[in-house]
Amino acid sequence: MTAAVAGQTWCDRCGEAAVAGAHEQCAAARALEPPRYCGRCRRRMKVQVLPVGWSAICVEHGEIRS
């Protein structure tokens, strides 16, 4: 779910490099959190949490949804 798992460059929770550790705490936390950073460019995303689901927009790489 986090960048380390998804093979992306940056952890989508803490914004640090995906290769900088296993990001186990981030992976566990992401079960109850939407992503905050773009896994491809590390930009902070605009995140809207809804009662059902969420959406996150990176100005460079577009929108992802739950």
Partner: protein
Amino acid sequence: MPEILDQARDQVLHNGVGLDEAGVLAVLNLPDEHLSATLQLAHDVRMRWCGPEVEVEGIVSLKTGGCPEDCHFCSQSGLFTSPVRSVWLDIPSLVKAAKQTAATGATEFCIVAAVRGPDDRLMKQMREGVAAIRAEVDIQVAASLGMLTQDQVDELVDMGVHRYNHNLETCRSYFPNVVTTHSWEERWETLRMVRESGMEVCCGGILGLGETVEQRAEFAAQLAELDPHEVPLNFLNPRPGTPLGDRPVVEGRDALRAIAAFRLAMPRTILRYAGGREITLGDLGTRDGLLGGINAVIVGNYLTTLGRPATDDLKLLDELKMPVKALSATL
């Protein structure tokens, strides 16, 4: 049986008179061996004075992040290094969220904004949003927009907002440790105006901010004095980048003791499970709380974090034979 539980059985269960601050403190200080008896008594009180129904609510953030206030627990403050960015929800998405919430059987839909208080843009968004929801969705609309002026209170009443949430967050003596950009008394003033307007008052807080057990009891007593229609009980979910980001979560047994104690302080209120229950109590603890004084839940996601799927909570309520409060019962 500890003396305080005997006292509570007579005073709260039989007579409907909540425990005072000293009584709540005595409950909070009970050893673990009395926890199940305490929860059972709180459950009996809830069933006696509120009944078996559970009020289900969904919440949504209309305006996320960028808040000028410094509530130390909040990832939406613009004063901290939180990764949460500012974003506004458009009206079609707001209506869709209300429909999704209503589809779970929820009777309440609370629109929340991360602000000190609403400005003209937010009030306009509320006017349009509430009107659109009321036209399309069969659900009660509540709001949480920070501190209000009297004109804004009146306008929310005109819109048809039936309940207003404004949490005191913690007791008066500890509040300056949590928020420095406004005072506990300013929040109380908004609550006073809301009550006088006829809107239902929703006011609770967060446990685990670093308050002492004595301050937890103080908070319960202050809420009881306010006598809100609803008390949402949150447990700190430490957010990265906030001043309280490194605090430990509340220990599960302490959380359950607090639920029971707050119920024994306020036998008739709607006591709602709100944020942080997933990480504090997990599935088993959620069940224990519903059998220990809780009679309302927020289902689905929160404002910036995710919750259990609504279906999990509804299934649990079914197992516990706790019917979801019908919309007709709220009108």
